[in-house]
């Protein structure tokens, strides 16, 4: 299958680059990714120069209605790059399933690690880690300043008319639970608790949608790139601000509540505000933290259904169903912190 994959990729690259005799000299599957695969592609051109790219290919089915198609994601990355957000330069995309069986996009390879545990543990990244809260705050402010009306961003999902971002997000969770057909009292309780505490959001902005460790490429020099834009949408900036602190992406450093790092979230917030982000609404961040855990509790169940349905058979996807309880417990703990009955 690998040989065939290489052959088809080579033919495609020759065609789009108008380069006969292009030679794919390296093709390696990169670790990580349950919803899509990443491949390292090294291409040698007839003139002897080489280019290294990352190709990201969708797996058989998408698991979230909100996820963008590859062409939409490509445009978001292009718009982010144009606005000075640190992203690997996007090269091209293809939505024709007949080329590589699934849509894919190709961007420049950026050296560094995006694996959360490595980012938190590697000794050579100690200085990089110190600078991250400020760098990430500044980058997020740039993302939130993207012009929603830009042609590349016009197709992003937005809250339906008359809905606030919080209303929209809860409606999506409700719909996802219905689609799954689960009757889980913890999820229902979480939804109901959130429904009574929806924050107002005067100015919805462009969100990354999955702004957390795992989606940041880090080298000893610091932040090299922000990846995985498939969940970009228009919503409450507090959603992105909360995402980075969710427990799961602290990688077993639960007591270090900002992304498993020793810095406090305040450093990140200050950098965000200094770079033009609107004042951080702490109450809204607390709401979106609970929501973020609810969302992942549901996504875990949805992932396991991909296996159970027979579409994408994988022990990893199947196991995620039982991991949902971790997000459910964290959601309940956050609700307890804020007060189960704080509204009465």
């Amino acid at each position: 299958m690998n040989a065939d994959f290489r052959q088809r990729l080579t033919e495609y690259l020759e065609a789009v680059l108008e380069l006969p005799d292009a030679d794919v000299t390296r093709l390696e599957r990169l670790a990580g990714g349950t919803s899509r695969e990443s491949w390292l592609v090294e291409l040698k051109k007839p003139d002897g120069t080489a280019q290294t790219w990352v190709l990201r290919r969708d797996l058989a089915t998408t698991y979230a209605d909100r996820a963008l198609y590859r062409d939409q994601e490509f445009r978001v990355i292009r718009a982010a790059a144009a606005a000075g957000v640190q992203v690997p330069a996007p090269r091209f995309y293809c939505v024709e399933p007949c080329i590589l069986d699934a849509p894919f996009l190709v961007m420049d390879y950026v050296s560094g690690s995006s694996i959360g545990r490595e980012v938190l543990e590697r000794a050579d990244l100690v200085d990089a880690r110190k600078g991250l809260p400020a760098q990430l705050g500044e980058q997020l402010a740039r993302i939130h300043a993207l012009d929603r009306a830009h042609a590349d961003l016009a197709a992003l999902p937005v809250p339906r008319a008359t809905f606030s971002p919080a209303q929209e997000a809860l409606a999506e969770m409700r719909a996802a639970i219905l689609r799954l057909g689960v009757h889980n009292p913890t999820l229902e309780f979480g939804l109901r608790w959130l429904e009574k505490r929806m924050p107002a959001c005067p100015v919805p902005v462009v969100l990354h949608g999955d702004f957390r460790l795992g989606n940041f490429i880090i080298s000893p020099r610091g932040l090299e790139g922000i990846i995985d834009w498939e969940f970009a949408h228009v919503g409450d900036p507090a959603e992105d601000l909360a995402c980075i602190s969710l427990r799961h992406w602290r990688y077993h450093r639960g007591d270090q509540s900002f992304a498993g790092m020793s810095a406090s979230a305040e450093t990140f917030y200050r950098a965000y505000e200094a770079a033009g982000g609107r004042p951080v609404n702490r109450a809204a961040v607390a709401f979106w933290s609970v929501w973020g855990n609810l969302r992942w509790a549901i996504l875990c169940l949805a992932q396991s259904r991909r296996h159970l349905s027979g579409h994408d058979r994988s022990v990893e996807l199947a196991s995620l169903g039982r991991q949902s309880a971790e997000f459910q417990l964290e959601m309940l703990r956050l609700i307890a912190e804020q007060g189960v009955n704080d509204d009465v």
């Binding site: 670790a31 109901r192 007591d255 971790e326 609700i335």
Partner: protein, 142 residues
């Protein structure tokens, strides 16, 4: 009727095979190594659930007696117990959405129930997650 190994013993043997034999053999392939690790953990989960037997179901049944406000005898057949639990959880969801737990005292009781239920699930699914949280709570400055 069956010769040994028992179900549990046989599964433990497969667990040993995956962890001790397959895992080192796939060390060179990051993707396969990760999937193998996950497969090993899945077998460990099944072993924990087998060993726990019907007790967690009975405990959840009794908690539901309390939170639903009605006592129903626990089914003798474990399959009936699982179906019965699904049915009772569906009822609980309906009642939550109908606002029956919106009064503070009832909401607090429901919350207590959900905490115990989720923790009981994690005793099977990932006990080390619970240990991590306990450790963290212990170290938290007052």
């Amino acid at each position: 009727m069956y010769d040994r190994p028992t179900l549990e013993e046989l599964l433990a043997a497969v667990h040993f095979y995956v962890q001790e034999r397959v895992q080192p053999a796939v060390a060179g392939d990051a993707r396969l190594a990760e999937e193998t690790r996950i497969a090993g953990e899945a077998i460990a989960l099944v072993l924990r659930q087998l060993r726990a037997g019907v007790e967690p179901l009975r405990a959840e049944w009794q908690r539901l007696d309390y939170v639903l406000g009605r006592s129903v005898p626990f089914p003798a057949d474990p399959t009936d117990a699982e179906d019965g639990l699904l049915e009772r959880e569906r009822k609980l969801c309906e009642w939550i959405n109908a606002g029956l737990y919106d009064l503070p005292a009832r909401r607090a009781a429901l919350f207590e129930h959900l905490m115990l239920n989720v923790r009981a699930q994690l005793e099977i699914a990932n006990p080390s997650f619970l240990e991590e949280l306990a450790q963290e709570d212990q170290n938290r400055p007052l």
